[in-house]
Amino acid sequence: MLLVDMIQTVQIPLLSALLLSGCAAKIMRILRVGSMDAGLGPTALFPMRLRRPVAMAMCALELGLGIGLILTAGQIGRGAPATCVRLGTGLLFLVAACSLLELRAARPDVGCGCFGDFSHAPVNWRTLTRAALLSLAALATIDLAPIEQPHSKGSALALLGLLGAELALIAALSPELGEALVRLGYSEPCELRVMPADRTLTALRRSKQWRRHAGLVTADVPADVWRELCWRYLVFPARYGDREAEIVFAVYLRQRRPQIHTALVDAATGQPLAWAVAPARTPWPIPRPRVLPLSKNL
């Protein structure tokens, strides 16, 4: 098999996979959002009433061409059907490239929408080059003979190598890849993480700071609880000698061994009071002592 034939051959599964995955990503987004009205890619260029039919047509076209490329790859659809499907695919990508150029000028803030939620990045030269290359790739397959199984192990490996190289090229031209990798390895910052207050209280009551100051606390439940960024503040009424006081615990929002800061304040004025050694008591059952990190009392 000649190198040109091999290059032509790998385009069929590659284009088909891209079309089907693009269609699947769009459908997944529509299912999640529940609407086709949100301008996705070039559909944002259309009036609101046309966005839905245009989006549906795009999805249907991608699905049809993706399946058509596979079905007409062999002997079954050889001739006119295969040519039509491949020509259609080439034209689709050509129109897409032109639309993206228009989109970049008219709505520079909108992503191409090629792969649904993954395509939020504004259209840039990579997206345009990818569409143009895919168009060329599809048009290059028009006169391709029906695909047959590789005759030797060497040619199979060569085909796989070509496929891998082209996939790498497309990946390099795809801003969606970065978005997908970010989602795979994403860990939400603590400022955005939802953390139940009950869990914070449990962590506090297991801490060394709690055991140290529990003797001053006069109530089971905090008088005030609030959160700011990665810290949750719990204020407990306390008695310090003859004075009404409050103990403020600032607990870092982490699942295990949170950092804890404390302050003793006058209940009336809120002014900090100096700590004194208080008799320890354990009003709540405390689990087996654990090694706690170093923390600082202020």
Binding site: S35, Y186, P189, P196, T200, V221, P222, W226, E228, G270
Partner: protein
Amino acid sequence: MLKARGDRGCCDRCAGATGAADAARIARRRLLKDAVFRPQAVHGGPDHPAGHAGFPDAARLPRSVTGTVLDVSPHVLVLGEPGARPGSEQRFTLSSDTATWRGSLLEPTALRIGDRAVVRLHPTRRAVADRIWANIGRVTGTIIEHSSDYMIVDEGATRQRQVVVIPPRAAGRIQVRFPTLQPGYLIDIIGLRGPEGLEGVIPATSQPAYPADRIPEAPLVSGHVPDAISGSATWHEPDGEPPGVLGVAYPALDPETGCVEEAVAGSARGYARMPYLAVGSALLVRNDCNGASCVLPVTGCAPVARQFNDRCVTCGTSPRGRVADLTEASFVALGGELDRGCFNATITIGR
């Protein structure tokens, strides 16, 4: 959900809250936080006077005054409250530069006795009115019902549903920005407040293309959230808030506060990925259009504002999402034009 002893488990804009209770709680929380992390500041110093929450003094900083028009002449505007004790009214000089809005830009003499007016004072001459907005109102929420004559809009669990009437002269202008006036879609309209509802005059933004219960996902944030977040700052009408209160409704209050207003949001998370805060947290809000900035306390949650992923284009194009929903007084004090609906803003957390 953990409930604090003897307190309501909702944010302070919920029913039953009073302005005094809000202010006391806000100041107390800030004091206690400082006691943990900055005890020297609580003890008092040149930069941190003891007992001061660090927020602007309502009597000095704001350049905005709210009241009812008691009298108006070509040169003097008298504001006060009907039935208030004699001598409590405030008089402002009207200059040739004083701009007045009452559905559109008019002469100050177009004001009517009984109008509710928001006045921005001149930057250097406090007795001179720089800008006046009369009977201005805003409805931001989800369309519940729409007919040829009116719309009913849901603004949240703690607010009454609003009736919006769009007069024919404003219909075209509004429909350009809000093409989908259907139940379930978001709307944000500025207009003249009347006894029957709001007469919509100006679209405050462009309509998000999604229904209110289908908010698109914002880009993910890796690492720590930046201290400064840019976006759009809007304003809301006072509803149970004391007139002239300085504060900001924040779109991402800790869900554990159990705010009643959260029920309207539909989803726990809005568009903008913003760090969780609580009532009483301090935000440095900066108007990117004129450079004015002010530290404001979070006084409530903004479950409707967080549903919008719009941009503010008052000066340049802001990033998507609303980062602050200011009270009228705060918005005006920071140099915002109420009839524009928003200004490009940057908020800094942790001040």
